[in-house]
Structure formats: structure tokens, C-alpha cells
């Protein structure tokens, strides 16, 4: 590092002399280093004293149990997973409270960041599942645009979905139903997803130009909390089934 920077400085100094730009001070030498912040660096106790009360409160909140699972919600394989189905069903259920025109939902496997163990589920588990501030949005899509979404799901050999069912052979979807009706390319459909995907994230470029986009002003994480709280209030457990919504020959 030193060598290129120093030669740069020499060049700069030389140019300055020629142009006699005397009013600026010039760099005659520079050095660089990077500190790794690890255990060997002592800690400033004043900083810890400041944030410890916030940390204690946060940990208490994070450890609060919000619900219970009947079985572990895992994401072991394609095309369907227990976690994916729970997640998409919860989104659909909560989304429908805000907008009854929603017909199906789409998330991505990569967006679900953890699994749930069997038993107590804490605030922390829900944050780990959805650490992002993603907001739910409803997209009105043309039939051909929905076909692109279907092709995407087939190409990925399944994604977390609800309200849509399909079979996949050789990465092509067939027997597709939405809201219990066969998919009709001449109709428009209302998809519930979240802003990150609607903005084209996770290779979902095809969602960027919907016929209409409506915010429903709820974060995905908030929807998950609401869904779990409802179940707990009703004395129910968090559950999901592999129900054949996506069947793949792979």
C-alpha cells in the first residue's frame, strides 16, 4: 500500500510545483492500516454501561414466548416445505383481512431466514425468520404476467406460495389453479407479496410492472406476529401441512 500511495503523493506534489498552486498544503506521505475489532481490543466500559439497560430489555422482549409449534417447521426440500407453507398461509390470511380481493401469495425460499423448532416460539424466532422490514403489497397482474410468475416458481422447483396450486414437470408448470379455479391467461389476478420482491428482488424482475400496486401498510413480520398471536389466543398451535400445493416430478 505504502508504495503506490507514496508515488501518488510524489506525482501530486510535482504537479503542484509546476502549477505553483501554493495556497494548498500538499500531501508528502501517507500510510494505511486496518484494525480488526476482536477480543484483543479492550472495551470501553462507559459505552457498555450506556447500552446494557437497552440490551437487558431487548433480551427480555426477544425471549418472550408468543406461540407454540406442533412440529418443527423446517425447510428441508423442494418443492414444498412446512416453513414455506406456514409463512405463505400466514401472509395470505393476514393479507385477506386488509384486502379481500387477494387471490394468491408468493414469497421466496431465500427470504425465509430460519426454521422453527418444535415447542415454544419466541419473538426472537420470528425476527430471525423475517429480519427485514419488508412491507406487504398487492399487485394486480395480467394473465401473461401471472404466467411469468408461474414459470418462475416452476424454474425454482417451488417457492413458498398460498392460494395457488400446480404440478411441475421438467421445470414447466401444468394443472395450475388459483383460488380453486384453473388459471386463465385472459384474466387478471391479485397477488400478495412484499415490496422487496415487488421491486424485482430475488430475480423477480417480472413483478416490476404490475397493472396496479397497492400498499396494505403492514410489515410481513407484523403479519406473522398477528397470525401467531391469534392462534395462541384461540389456544391453537402453529402448524402447517405439506398439502400437495406444488407437486414436482424432480
Amino acid at each position: 500500500m505504502k508504495t503506490p500511495l507514496r508515488s501518488g503523493a510524489v506525482l501530486f506534489a510535482g504537479l503542484c510545483l509546476m502549477a505553483s498552486c501554493q495556497k494548498h498544503l500538499t500531501v508528502s506521505k501517507s500510510e494505511y492500516r486496518q484494525y480488526g475489532i476482536d477480543q484483543q481490543v479492550g472495551a470501553d466500559s462507559a459505552i457498555i454501561r450506556y447500552y446494557q439497560p437497552f440490551k437487558d430489555k431487548m433480551q427480555a422482549e426477544m425471549n418472550r414466548v408468543v406461540g407454540q409449534t406442533e412440529v418443527a417447521l423446517t425447510k428441508p426440500s423442494n418443492p414444498e416445505t412446512l416453513m414455506g407453507n406456514f409463512f405463505a398461509d400466514a401472509m395470505l390470511k393476514e393479507g385477506l383481512k386488509k384486502d379481500p380481493t387477494i387471490q394468491f401469495t408468493l414469497a421466496t425460499k431465500g427470504g425465509l431466514r430460519t426454521t422453527f423448532p418444535k415447542g415454544n416460539i419466541t419473538v426472537s424466532h420470528v425476527f430471525e425468520l423475517m429480519p427485514f422490514e419488508n412491507e406487504m403489497v398487492v399487485l394486480k397482474l395480467s394473465g401473461p404476467n401471472v404466467q411469468q410468475v408461474i414459470d418462475f416458481i416452476a424454474k425454482k422447483d417451488g417457492e413458498p406460495v398460498a392460494g395457488i396450486r400446480m404440478k411441475i414437470r421438467d421445470n414447466k408448470a401444468y394443472d395450475v389453479t388459483i383460488g380453486g379455479e384453473p388459471f386463465d391467461i385472459n384474466k387478471t389476478y391479485n397477488l400478495l407479496t412484499y415490496d422487496y420482491l415487488a421491486d424485482g428482488g430475488d430475480e423477480l424482475e417480472c413483478l416490476r410492472n404490475p397493472l396496479e400496486r397497492r400498499e396494505i401498510n403492514q410489515k410481513v413480520r407484523e403479519a406473522l406476529f398477528e397470525n401467531i398471536s391469534d392462534l395462541t389466543r384461540q389456544g391453537k398451535k402453529i402448524t402447517a401441512q405439506l398439502d400437495g400445493r406444488i407437486v414436482s416430478d424432480q
Binding site: 500500500m1 503506490p4 500511495l5 501518488g8 503523493a9 510524489v10 506525482l11 501530486f12 506534489a13 504537479l15 510545483l17 501554493q22 495556497k23 494548498h24 498544503l25 500538499t26 500531501v27 508528502s28 506521505k29 501517507s30 500510510e31 494505511y32 492500516r33 486496518q34 484494525y35 480488526g36 475489532i37 476482536d38 477480543q39 481490543v41 479492550g42 472495551a43 470501553d44 466500559s45 462507559a46 459505552i47 457498555i48 450506556y50 447500552y51 437497552f54 440490551k55 430489555k57 431487548m58 422482549e61 426477544m62 426472537s124 425476527f127 429480519p131 422490514e133 412491507e135 415490496d195 421491486d199 424485482g200 400498499e215
Partner: protein, 313 residues
């Protein structure tokens, strides 16, 4: 905790000793004037993402790394050794741990203030709780957010950021300004509202020229959240560096790039613009030391031999 308090006591003694020395210097002003070389020490972070505690010891790649209390101790130590320190951040202060989700950024900005940050710029995640969420936390920052290429006039942030700031250190004038990334497609519109994104290259040229030529700064630093480099044709720090004049150093962020060393790029004038970025989450603290020669004649300009205490790598 006992150990921490001991470290703190040691720090206190060291600091006390230095304060006394500085005071002593103050009574002999000619000494400083005779010193022909001024050393500027720039410390920097980027994309700290609400990482207050070190990463947990859970077997993950970054376990045990980072932590604001350690960074604070290190900064304090460097400040005790060096007279002219600037501590800067290139944005994405917010988002990444439940500290942000629960407290909205209060801790991040309070702790940066306690550490003595001199300036920061805004990253896209600093909009995660919307313009209102950022504006609400801003009173916890005792340092300015420097943003030159967002027009906040029709938002709640109007007048709450500034395009640049000039720092004076031992007669040196250092101009610092900020450029930020395009928000459309990256941040939900309802979070940035009527913020208008302006061309970062045009703005950077305008700012750097203002600072160097009109304000006569000796050194111009750009805090950038554009990202280090991209495969696709998208404005980055590399493109910014070669498309501008008058910028000496770009402190970057956004791409979470762990650069092995700073990169030097020739700008439009054929002069060196240096780019650096130090990963994310406060895992590293970057440090650049520049030595400025007060002699104007030139013969002493490049042949300075400096005693460097605590040899730098």
C-alpha cells in the same frame, strides 16, 4: 465487568496524561508553528448495521468480531496518540439487529456521538423506518449527516442534513461531503417519499470544486454510499473517482467490500483519488494517515523523514 473497569481506569490515566501534555504544549505556541509536518489521521467505518454487540459465538464466520465498546476504546486510544483525528462513517448505520427494530436507531446514533464521530452520510437502510423515523432519531446525533445529492426540500428532513462540512486541524482545512445511492427500486417509495435523487457525479464535482477551489481546502473527502464497484454499468466509487476532479479520498460503503488495501485511481486531472471501504458491521476500523508539508518552496516537500511512533502496517 471487573476487567472492563480496569481497562477504563488505565484509559483514564493515559488520557489524563495526554491532556496535561497538550496543555503544556499550549503554553509554548511557537513549538507547534515550527513543526513543518501536519499529520491527519482519518478513521472510518461503513455499513455498521446496528451491530452494537460483537457477533455472537455461534460458529458463524464473523463470530466474536466487532462491537461498539471495543471500537470506542480503540478510537479513544488513537485520539490519545494523534492530534488530528477525523472519525467518519459512510452510511447504513441502521438495520440488522433487533436493537434497531426495538429502539429505532437511538442507540446507534447515541453511541456514535459518544465515540466522537465527526460526520456520516446516509445509506439506503437509514430510510428503513422512513424519513420520519430517521428525522425522529436525528437529535441523538451530535455530528452532521452529509448528503449532497438528495433534495430533501419536500420532506421532513429539509434543513436537517448538510451537503458538506469543513474541518480545521492545526491549520489544515479538510472538506468532507457525502453522496448517496439512488433510492428507487432499493427503498420503498413510502419510506423516502419526495426525496429527489440528483446525479452523484455532477454533485460530487460541484462539491469538490467548491471545497478545493473556493473554500481552499487542503484535502477533500467524499463519504459515499454508492458502492465500491459493480459488474453492470452502474455508478460506483470507481466510476466516481475517475469521473471527477478535486477529490482526494473516497470513503465508501454499501457493497460491504472487504478491501485488502485502498485503491488509487487517476481522476480527470490525472491526480490520485484513493478509495477505501472496510467491510461491514464494525468488524474493522480503517485508518489513513496523511502527512502534509507546510513548506511551500518545495525542496523539503517529498524528502521528509518522519518519526512514526507505533509503526503502521
Amino acid at each position: 465487568m471487573e476487567e472492563l473497569f480496569q481497562i477504563n481506569r488505565r484509559d483514564f490515566l493515559k488520557k489524563g496524561g495526554l491532556a496535561a501534555a497538550a496543555w503544556g504544549l499550549g503554553s509554548v505556541p511557537t513549538f507547534a508553528r515550527r513543526d513543518s509536518v501536519v499529520r491527519l489521521t482519518i478513521l472510518h467505518t461503513n455499513d455498521v448495521h446496528s451491530r452494537i454487540d460483537p457477533f455472537p459465538m455461534d460458529g458463524s464466520r464473523n463470530q466474536g468480531l466487532g462491537g461498539v465498546a471495543r471500537r470506542a476504546a480503540l478510537v479513544k486510544q488513537i485520539r490519545a496518540e494523534q492530534p488530528n483525528v477525523l472519525l467518519l462513517d459512510a452510511g447504513d448505520v441502521f438495520q440488522g439487529t433487533p436493537y434497531f427494530n426495538l429502539y429505532g436507531g437511538e442507540l446507534e446514533l447515541t453511541i456514535m456521538s459518544q465515540m466522537g464521530y465527526d460526520a456520516a452520510t446516509m445509506g439506503n437502510h437509514d430510510f428503513d423506518n422512513s424519513i420520519a423515523g430517521f428525522a425522529k432519531q436525528l437529535p441523538h446525533a451530535n455530528f452532521p449527516f452529509l448528503v449532497s445529492n438528495y433534495d430533501f426540500n419536500n420532506t421532513e428532513l429539509k434543513g436537517k442534513t448538510q451537503p458538506y462540512k469543513i474541518f480545521k486541524k492545526q491549520g489544515l482545512k479538510i472538506g468532507v461531503f457525502g453522496v448517496c445511492i439512488e433510492l428507487e427500486g432499493l427503498v420503498n417509495k413510502k419510506n423516502y417519499l419526495e426525496t429527489v435523487y440528483l446525479d452523484p457525479i455532477a454533485k460530487a464535482n460541484e462539491m469538490a470544486s467548491l471545497l478545493k477551489n473556493e473554500q481552499h481546502c487542503d484535502f477533500v473527502i467524499c463519504l459515499s454510499h454508492l458502492g465500491y464497484k459493480y459488474k453492470e454499468n452502474k455508478v460506483s466509487d470507481q466510476i466516481l473517482a475517475k469521473s471527477t476532479r478535486n477529490i482526494d479520498l473516497i470513503i465508501g460503503g454499501h457493497t460491504h467490500s472487504f478491501m485488502k488495501e485502498p485503491e488509487n485511481i487517476l481522476n480527470l486531472d490525472g491526480k490520485v483519488t484513493t478509495i477505501n471501504q472496510v467491510g461491514f458491521a464494525g468488524i474493522n476500523l480503517g485508518r489513513l494517515d496523511y502527512f502534509f508539508d507546510r513548506e511551500k518552496g518545495g525542496q523539503k516537500m517529498v524528502s521528509v523523514v518522519l518519526p512514526v511512533r507505533g509503526m503502521l502496517g
